[in-house]
Amino acid sequence: MNTARMPVYLDHAATTPVEPLVAARMAEVLSSETEFGNPASSSHGYGDVAAALVESARAQVAAAVGAAAPEIVWTSGATEANNLAIFGVAQYYRERGRHIVTSRTEHKAVLDPCRELERRGWEITYLVPDREGLLDPAQVAAALRPDTVLVSLMHVNNEIGVVQNIAAVGAICARHGGAWLHVDAAQSVGKCPLHFASLGADLMSLSSHKVYGPKGVGALVISRGADLGGRGRVQLSALQFGGGQERALRAGTLPTHQVVGMGLAFELAAKISSVETARVARLRERLWRGLASLGGVVRNGSATRSVPHLLNVSFEGVEGESLLAAIRPDLAVSTGSACTSALAEPSYVLRALGRSERLSESSLRFGLGRTTTEADVDIAIACLTQALSRLRKVAGTLVAGSMPVA
């Protein structure tokens, strides 16, 4: 692809550019004559140096999310962390129960493992959020059964940005006594307060590349904290075997440069989070005001209980694929449909919120981030203004309140 004129990047919820400081540190590790060792090689100094880097990064990640360093288990990303949490608990506690509670608006990295477990005989309860995308913790309480072994819910929804009340769910799970709580927090770090020890969760998935770190590395936080409800601490069955790394929960040689990058990325995110969040919140408000003025624009997800980095809107009177094609040269955003073939599938998250198929397909997710400027937002508004005006004219669907077509 010709990169001479790339579109404005507003897809930070999909991934973020690597922070230059992080990239530089990773390059140092990769090119160092002393830091290339295998962190598991305890028989010589090269291994010791690499192991020290890994442990330092572990401490950085733990500090950024309110966890203890020994609670961090490195993975290849949040998807692997989710798989390890879900299959690991299901396998370990299979004699105690085979019921799991999750929600319809989880990421595929949670829903697909749950569906696989269903195929293997587990029962899954899929909670339905309200029209704003929020779950009532009472729904979790009502869904728990004596044989429930796991509740898996995301902290921040990746499509609509709503923040679930995980602490309340944690308290419910602790009272239940047998249901462990797994939280997918891939979208949370640097975007909203996240303190593992305060959530009441037993397991938490993290991603590096959503936080201006490298792709290919993440972590599963496994609680070793207070024994809530006298049920002991969560145990997992390993999913891969080999060298016994990561307390034998995740075998495989650790990529030192990757974990070093994630550690630094998380440390930086924690340092600049509040300032950055306030800046991005102002940009999102500017974007929303600009889009709302176009008429026929529906905001998806709670406006008050959401991270400021994400805005999801549906546009009435335009067909989804045409909308994307019209803005694609100028804007890099995600759509409310999954293009698995020539025919797009409407977003299951938006459908779960009660949006129609058409409105789900004509939705866009704007992911704002550190690189986003006021000028970017204004370009987005101008681009959408033009695209909507043209497509609504072509469709004969000018909506009330929309701008007149020349």
Binding site: E319, E321, L324, A325, A326, A342, R358, V394, A395, T397
Partner: protein, 129 residues
């Protein structure tokens, strides 16, 4: 989704988008916006030929491009009870994925819904509008 140059050009220009008013206009539509594809053609007929044509389409870029191209190509042509070009030829010309063949049939239905009453009217067998 990738589009060939022709599709992109006609999708972006959509030069004949709109509706025609006045005498001699025959309108046909097919599809359903709620189903994701809806197309309408307006043809102004004069002396058995199309003197003006326009379209509306709530649809994907391929569908919009084909409808726009048909509206352009129709002007000056004689009325015929068929598309100016077959569905298969249109599919090839615009590189329409096979999954979208149904949308070309919606276009054909809309076209015929405009053309057939015009032919009937001309032949005096049917009165429209």
């Amino acid at each position: 989704m990738n589009y060939n140059d022709l599709t992109r050009n006609y999708f972006e220009s959509a030069a004949n988008a709109g509706e025609l008013e006045g005498p001699g206009v025959f309108r046909g539509a097919a599809g359903n916006r709620d189903q994701g594809t809806w197309v309408q053609f307006d043809l102004r007929i004069h002396d058995g030929a199309v003197s003006e044509a326009s379209f509306l389409a709530f649809a994907c870029p391929h569908t919009i491009a084909v409808a726009a191209w048909l509206a352009e190509q129709a002007v000056g042509g004689r009325l015929q009870p068929m598309l100016p070009e077959s569905v298969q030829a249109l599919r090839d010309r615009f590189a329409v994925p096979v999954e979208k063949m149904g949308r070309l049939l919606v276009i054909e239905d809309a076209w015929l819904a405009a053309v057939l009453p015009a032919i009937d009217y001309r032949e005096g067998t049917h009165i429209v509008k």
